[in-house]
Amino acid sequence: MTIQSGINKITRRNFLALAGGTVGMAALASMGVPASFIENNLEIDLDKIDHQENEADVLVIGGGMAGLFAAVKAHDAGAKVMLVSKGSLGSSGQTPFAKGIFAYDKDLTNVSLDEFVDQVSRSAIGTNNPVYTKQMAEHSLARVTDLREWGFFDSPLYNNSFNKPIKERNIPVMERITITHLIKENDRIAGAAGFSVDEEKVHFFNAKSVILCTGAGGFKPNGFPICDLTHDGTVMAYNIGAKVTGKEWNDGHPGQSINAASCFDGWHGMFERKPGLTSVEIHHDLGVDMNYMAYMNGNPLQMGPPGMNNQKGSTGGPYRPEEFSRKEPPGGDNKPPGREQPKEGGAPPGMGGTVVGGSSAGMSIHKSEGLVPINDKCESTIPGLYAAGDALGSYMAGAIYTQIGSSLAGSAVQGAVAAEAAAKYSKYIEFQNISKNVMNKIEEEILAPLKRDAGYSPAWVTQTLQGIMIPNFVLYIKKESMLKAALAYIEELRDHHMPMLKAADMHELRLAHETRNMILSAEMKLKASIMRTESRCSHYRLDYPDMDNENWQAWINIYKGSDETMQFEKQPFDSWPNGKRIIV
């Protein structure tokens, strides 16, 4: 076996001895910890890997709430649609675990639509895009009505109800296909590419437009069911030049200290609930206050609602607008655990008992990170490329959790909005030819981890990345020196390990691509956090603890520069990327 470019030849036996002896390796292996640099024992026949081409006017990537509506509504708008998903419809990403969906019903509330938007905007301290906040509320009831008709509220499992409208319309669905590449030709979208984990097959999709419904992501953290979400959409869009945003914000959910990795237990049966409706209830939740208290006072953390700031020595810390200070335990957006459980739906109560941090590490506030929209139609900076739900950095709720249940509602609403826009766009445009050269190059990149004789296992690189990124003094309670130190590690993973990720089968190939995406996300998160020299909402800097309204009434956009390096720019809170004012 050869280690990179033939620096030296090394037998497996010798290598094991070098790595601390076979006993140590066996011990590690028995714990399930993959050894780091090992021979790639390929379990599949590379020559048998097939290749298939597919075509659709509108290609929907992702099978969660946003993907469902994107596919259904694009079909209804007359487009030939195909839905491709890394998992199965309604059973991957965060959708299966989101049990509360918000519906704004003007007959059931005395809060007017404009008041609702104003209140969210006040809680979000300017970080929200009020156009998307209003759009979510305005369309939420209609989407809930669709869902009710499909039987969504009748079962805690969503696969059946999601399949109903898809089957009725005969929309082709391709499941368990990991999309790794978006393809751009002549400065507009031309399709996408990925591979099947079941069939040993590379798939190319020729499409007039693509709607990314790929959800958000994290660092495969323990305690949150997001281990299949690795910011795939953000990274593949970034790679073809799209602008992405929101990488400095943080979802601050804690987990339970006992069996922290068991999200089912940590969420206290919430996964078994049927979904239900939430009504107007606006908070300023799940920023970094609890993480700040744990950082200042240590654990065990007295379980009070974050933001009550009633702990000794925790004066100061993250700012919460007076209007939204609360005396009751917090509820997440769609999220975790606690005591009294309603029979169905609703938001999960706060975590009970002793808690630990970082259960959602690597994830930002819903809908604050993702592709930068250039208008209210979920359109990205690349013509023909749309995004909806958590894949779109719409800032629908701002950089903090505001309206409970709005995440799921927002994904449904944005899926439908993007669908109509993409279907319309596809009417007046022709398919583009994807050249053989491009296809060969992409196939080469997709399969590269399988072709390495030796390399780093994705599981080991992921664990290393978790060790760097998850501790609370990195992304939760930030300061420049630590962010830079972590960045040095991440750049090492990016430059040295990412090019040497190996895979023995299609499952591990998926892990290799996910690991690559997490490394790039980590770089974005650290650099954006260094850049934002203030504290606001879910971004807290120890060295810049105050809000800086003079310099930071702005979002941070990230894009790939012409020299392939990561570039950053500010986009004022009140404007679209082209400088036009956002008018509600």
């Binding site: 714990m31 399930g32 998992g87 199965s88 499992l157 323990n222 305690g223 990795a261 078994e272 941090g357």
Partner: protein, 71 residues
Amino acid sequence: MSIQSINGCIGCETCIKMCPTDVIRLDPKTKKAVIKYPADCQICHLCRMYCPVDAITISPEKSIPVIVSWG
């Protein structure tokens, strides 16, 4: 260790499809579901809830060390 055992599997492949993290695969010989990649189990119980014969047992412990932010 997260997903623990599958007893009484009828080979319908539902769990394989419903697992978000691709932990379960069909054994080509026995035509039954096997826990192939337990380290990637996120302990979300979707497989158990979808299984028509309730064949899946899950424990809350993770098979690999758990990294948290503070503890």
